[in-house]
Amino acid sequence: MEQGIYWPSFFFLLFGAISCLFSVAVVLTSNIVRMAFYLVLALAATSGLFFLAGADFVGAMQLMIYVGGTLVLLIFGVMLTGKGPFVSLSTRGGEWILAALVGGSLLATLLPATQAVDQWQGISRDELPQTVSPTATRLGLGLLGARVDKLDQPNPALREGMSGYLLPFEIVSIHLLVVLIGAAYLARAKRRRATEIVE
């Protein structure tokens, strides 16, 4: 039976090809500014993949945090490499051969593993869930400790996993605060030392 093009699959192919191609381009180029630009494109295409998988909130976070953070990386790259020799630090030939060998064997191990399970091959069009529900509310309640998506869990042994993510959320919040203070402390300007060097 001839079926028309299934457009989500088409967009998966589009975004997947963009993210794969620009990931390879990040590896292959040696210009730091181009590298950062390719990385931004690859991460943005990945957020498209997240939207296609039904993870709308995570896709939006990917665009805002990840891509925004990488833009900061890009600005740093421009600032640190503006004057001369650091714009392109090229890799030596022998290292390329070794890296291609290791990367190729890693890829040859991982790709067959993705095909190993039959249930991972996807579902037919008729069995797809027909409803699309936004995930932001459920994610927010999950982070606060209420798993509204698992209220109907029939198995009592699995019900223990329903406790939510309140403690990890608090831990990661404190972690982020400490890390930002530490980063500001590490990166503070050392004026005195700089003048010593100049003198």
Partner: protein
């Protein structure tokens, strides 16, 4: 490979397709970390690796990609959110270290960081 690519445009994709994209990104990030001489290049490799892992989490949590009932559900998306937050924290610290390194050495070539070499 034929059953995989035969109906790629007319049928919904599955977890394994997402995992292939994630595997390619992971390998690119690992190679990037190993070969780049620029500190910022190594950082970008780390971002690629974390992103490849995130693709797998999202794929296993999605209700649209696999037929059996053993989906991760919302847990996959929550873990992906934590990964994103930790990646942001890691990038902040690593950028601070890179700035310090640049102040000390006037260079961002990691091959110059060999004072602790035995």
């Amino acid at each position: 490979m034929t059953p995989l690519f035969a109906s790629l445009l007319t049928e919904p994709v599955g977890v394994s397709h997402y995992m292939m994209v994630g595997a390619v990104m992971f390998v690119c990030g690992a190679v990037c970390m190993a070969t780049k001489r620029n500190i910022l290049g190594v950082l970008m490799g780390i971002e690629l690796v974390l992103n490849g892992a995130n693709i797998n989490f999202i794929a296993f949590g999605s209700p649209y990609l696999r037929s059996d009932a053993n989906q991760l559900g919302l847990d996959g998306q929550l873990i992906a959110l934590f990964v994103i937050v930790l990646a942001a924290a890691e990038a902040a610290v690593a950028l601070a270290i890179a700035l310090n390194f640049y102040n000390q050495h006037n260079s961002i070539d990691i091959d110059r960081a060999d004072e602790l070499q035995g």
